[in-house]
C-alpha cells in the first residue's frame, strides 16, 4: 500500500476527528459541571446547521462567519433551557432527566421537519470543494479550516475555565456543589451559563459541520450517539478528553476503512468504545467517580 495513501487517510481522519471533538465538547462541558446528560445534543447541532443554511440562503453569509451569531443564539437557547426547563429536574432521578431531554429532542426534530421538510440542504460556498497540497499530502480545505477552529475554540474554552473568575466559579460548582452554595455563588445562574457555553460549542460545531455534510432534520440522533461514543471514550466531563476521543474515533474510522472494509468503519469506533468501557470505564482522560 503506498505510503502517501496511508498518510493522506491518516490526515483526513485526524482532521475529521478534531471536528468530531468540537461536536462532543459541549456535551462533555455540560455533564462535567451540571451533571445532566444532554440527550438533545445532536438535535441542537442540527438546529445550528439549519441556522447556517438560513443565514447563507437568505443573506449569503458564509457559515464560518455565521458561526459567531449562531453560537450566541445557541448560548441563549441553552441558557433558557437550563434555567427554565432543566433546573427543576437537577435533583430528580436520572431517568426523569433522560425522559425530559429525549422529549425535547423529539420536539426539535419534528419542529425542524415542519419548518424545513425532509429534503437534505447544503451551502455551496466557493471553497467547499477546494483542497490544499502539503508536500505529498492533499488536505481538504474545509476540514483544515474547521479542524483549526475546533482547536482554537477548545483552547479558548480551556483558558476561560482556567483563568477567568466565572470559569473558576463554574469549576468550583462542579467540584463541590454544597461548598459553592455556602460561599454564596449563584449556582443556578452558573449552571445556566455552563449549559449556554456547551450549547454555544454545539452551535459553532454545527455551523462548521454544514460545510462538510448535508443537513436533514433526522441527523440529530446520529450526532447524539456519535457524541456519546466520543465523550465516553475520552472521559465524560473532560474537555481534553472530548478532543482526544474525537481524534481517536476519527482515526479509527479512517484507518479501519483503509486497512479493512470501509463499511465496517462504525464497527471499529464502537469496538473502541467497548474496549474503553471494559478496561477504563471512566474514559481515557476521565476521573474515577
Amino acid at each position: 500500500m503506498p505510503i502517501e495513501l496511508v498518510l493522506n487517510v491518516t490526515l483526513q481522519g485526524l482532521l475529521t476527528g478534531l471536528v468530531y471533538g468540537l461536536m462532543a465538547l459541549g456535551l462533555s462541558v455540560i455533564f462535567g459541571v451540571v451533571r445532566v446528560v444532554n440527550f438533545a445534543h445532536g438535535e441542537m447541532m442540527t438546529i445550528a446547521m439549519y441556522g447556517a443554511i438560513v443565514a447563507f440562503g437568505a443573506w449569503q453569509i458564509d457559515p464560518l462567519v455565521a458561526m459567531v451569531p449562531i453560537a450566541a443564539l445557541l448560548f441563549a437557547l441553552g441558557y433558557v433551557m437550563q434555567a427554565w426547563l432543566i433546573n427543576p429536574f437537577i435533583n430528580r432521578p436520572e431517568h426523569s432527566q433522560f425522559m425530559l431531554l429525549a422529549a425535547v429532542a423529539i420536539v426539535m426534530v419534528n419542529a425542524l421537519l415542519m419548518i424545513f421538510g425532509p429534503d437534505a440542504r447544503t451551502t455551496l460556498v466557493d471553497y467547499a470543494l477546494d483542497s490544499v497540497e502539503i508536500g505529498p499530502l492533499l488536505a481538504d480545505k474545509v476540514r483544515l479550516i474547521t479542524a483549526g477552529l475546533a482547536l482554537a475554540i477548545t483552547a479558548g474554552l480551556f483558558a476561560f475555565f482556567k483563568l477567568s473568575r466565572t470559569g473558576k466559579a463554574i469549576r468550583a460548582c462542579a467540584d463541590n456543589y454544597m461548598g459553592a452554595l455556602t460561599v454564596g455563588l449563584n449556582v443556578k445562574q452558573l449552571y445556566a451559563f455552563t449549559f449556554g457555553l456547551g450549547s454555544a460549542c454545539v452551535g459553532a460545531a454545527g455551523a462548521m459541520m454544514v460545510l462538510l455534510i448535508d443537513v436533514t432534520p433526522n441527523l440529530g440522533p446520529a450526532f447524539t450517539l456519535q457524541a456519546f461514543v466520543i465523550v465516553i471514550v475520552g472521559g465524560l466531563g473532560s474537555m481534553p478528553g472530548a478532543l482526544l476521543g474525537g481524534v481517536l474515533i476519527g482515526l479509527s474510522e479512517a484507518l479501519s476503512g483503509l486497512f479493512f472494509a470501509p463499511s465496517a468503519k462504525s464497527m471499529f469506533a464502537i469496538a473502541l468504545l467497548i474496549l474503553v468501557l471494559l478496561f477504563r470505564p471512566q474514559g481515557l482522560l476521565g476521573k474515577k467517580a
Partner: protein, 414 residues
C-alpha cells in the same frame, strides 16, 4: 343465589358460540364483498422521512398525480389514496403495511427500497392484499412464489445485464474504452444484490475492462474520503458506482476534493446521479456522469401528458424514474380494478396478473407480469447529465441528446 353451570351446559354454550363465530366468519367475506367495490383504496407506502426521504417523496409525487392523469386518459375509477411513511426503516415498513391493510387498503404500492419492499411483500402475501412494487430490485422478492406480489421494476440481474450491455454500446459510440474500473456500492440490500449480480454476470459479458477493486460502504455514511482515497490509489480509469442519493453526492464531492478525474463515471443501474437534489447540490460537477437505468420513454405520447401535468403541479421538481414507475404502479392498480370490478384481494390479484398495457410511460415492451409477478419487458437506457439535467443518449431510437465522452476534468468546467 348462585346458579350452577353444569359441564353439559358449558359444552352446549361453547358449541353455540363456536357455531355463531363460524357463521359470522364464514359470511364476513361476502359482507365485505358486498360493501366494497365502489372505491379502490390504495395504500401508498414509501420512505417519506429518514435518509431516503427525498426518493420516497419523489415516488409519492407519482402516486399523487396519477388519479388526475389517469382520468384524463379515460381510466375512470374512484380512488382513495392512503399514505404511510416507512421512515426508511424495514421494521417500520412492515408495521405500516399491516396498519394500511387493517385500515382497509385494497392494494399496496411502494416502497422504493428493496429491504422495505421485501418486508411489505410478506405482509401483503399473508393478508391476501395485492402489492405492486414500484421501485425495488432485489431479485429474491419475486422468487418466493408469492401470489399477491407484482413488480413493475427490473430485478438486479436485469438491471446489471442491461447496464453492462449499454456500457459496451457507450464505449463503441464514444471511442473511449477504459481498461480498469473500481466498483463502489452501498452496503444495503439493493447494493449487495447489484454486487452479487455483477460478480456473477460480468464474466459472461466480455467487458473490455477489469474490475480492480470493489469497495462497499455504509449507505448512511457522512464521509466517503477514505473510500475515494482507496479507489483513487488503484489508478482505475472508470468508476462504477451503485449509490443512493446522499452517498452519490458525497462520492462526487469527494472525487472533486481529491482531484481524481477518471475517464468515465458510469452507474450500472442505481439512483443518485439523476435526482433533482443531486443537480441542485453539485451544479456543474453533476454533468457528464452516466447512468444505465430504466427510464421514461421521452417520445411516448402518454409520457408527454404526464410530464405536462407534473410540471404544472410540481414546478421545482424533476420528473424522473421514481415518479414514472410510481405512476405506472397506480396505472396497473386502476386498470386491474376496472377489469375486476371488485376490491376483493384475490380477484384484484388475478386481474393484475392479466395486465397487458401497451401504451405506457417507461421505456420497454408491454407492461405485463410473468408467472412470478415480474415485468420482464422493462429496458434500460443510458442517461447522461447534460446541462444539469438527465438526457437519454442511448439507445438512439429514444435518445434526446448526443453522448459526450471523455468527461472534461473537474477544473475545466467554466
Amino acid at each position: 343465589m348462585t346458579k350452577k353451570f353444569t359441564r353439559r351446559q358449558f359444552g352446549q354454550t361453547t358449541a353455540s358460540a363456536v357455531a355463531a363465530g363460524a357463521l359470522i366468519a364464514g359470511t364476513a367475506p361476502f359482507n365485505i364483498g358486498r360493501a366494497q367495490g365502489r372505491v379502490l383504496k390504495i395504500g401508498s407506502i414509501h420512505p417519506r422521512s429518514g435518509f431516503q426521504a427525498q426518493l420516497g417523496l419523489a415516488c409519492q409525487r407519482g402516486v399523487d398525480i396519477a388519479p388526475r392523469v389517469l382520468k384524463a386518459l379515460g381510466m375512470n375509477a374512484e380512488v382513495e389514496i392512503m399514505n404511510a411513511d416507512t421512515e426508511s426503516n424495514v421494521d417500520i415498513a412492515r408495521s405500516r403495511a399491516e396498519k394500511l391493510v387493517n385500515d382497509g387498503a385494497n392494494v399496496l404500492i411502494g416502497a422504493f427500497d428493496s429491504g422495505q419492499s421485501a418486508a411489505i411483500a410478506q405482509v401483503a402475501e399473508q393478508k391476501g392484499v395485492p402489492y405492486i412494487i414500484n421501485v425495488a430490485a432485489a431479485p429474491q422478492i419475486t422468487e418466493q412464489g408469492y401470489k399477491f406480489v407484482f413488480r413493475n421494476f427490473p430485478t438486479a440481474p436485469m438491471l446489471v445485464g442491461d447496464g453492462l450491455n449499454l456500457m459496451k454500446n457507450v464505449f463503441d459510440k464514444s471511442g473511449v474504452t477504459p481498461k480498469t474500473a473500481v466498483f463502489m456500492h452501498a452496503n444495503d440490500t439493493f447494493g449487495q444484490s447489484m454486487a452479487g449480480a455483477i460478480k456473477a454476470m460480468a464474466p459472461r459479458f466480455n467487458l473490455p475492462f477489469q474490475i480492480v477493486e470493489t469497495i462497499s460502504y455504509d449507505p448512511q455514511a457522512k464521509d466517503l474520503s477514505v473510500e475515494i482515497a482507496k479507489a483513487k490509489a488503484t489508478g482505475a480509469e472508470m468508476v462504477m458506482p451503485v449509490t443512493r442519493l446522499n452517498d452519490a453526492i458525497l462520492l462526487i464531492r469527494e472525487m472533486v476534493k481529491q482531484r481524481w478525474e477518471p475517464k468515465v463515471i458510469m452507474s450500472p443501474g442505481a439512483p443518485g446521479f439523476y435526482e433533482g437534489q443531486f443537480y441542485r447540490t453539485l451544479g456543474k460537477y453533476s454533468d457528464y456522469l452516466l447512468t444505465n437505468v430504466p427510464w421514461y420513454n421521452p417520445r411516448a405520447a402518454i409520457t408527454q401528458k404526464l410530464l405536462d401535468e407534473f410540471s404544472k403541479t410540481y414546478k421545482n421538481e424533476l420528473f424522473e424514474l421514481n415518479v414514472g414507475f410510481s405512476f405506472e404502479a397506480m396505472m396497473v392498480a386502476v386498470d386491474a380494478f376496472n377489469r375486476a370490478k371488485s376490491t376483493n384481494g384475490r380477484e384484484l390479484a388475478d386481474a393484475i396478473r392479466a395486465t397487458k398495457i401497451t401504451d405506457h410511460v417507461m421505456a420497454g415492451g408491454t407492461l405485463e407480469f410473468d408467472a412470478k409477478g415480474q415485468n420482464v419487458n422493462i429496458k434500460s437506457v443510458t442517461l447522461q447529465n447534460i446541462g444539469q439535467k438527465p438526457k437519454v443518449v442511448l439507445p438512439l431510437d429514444v435518445s434526446e441528446d448526443n453522448l459526450l465522452l471523455p468527461m472534461p476534468g473537474w477544473t475545466k468546467r467554466g
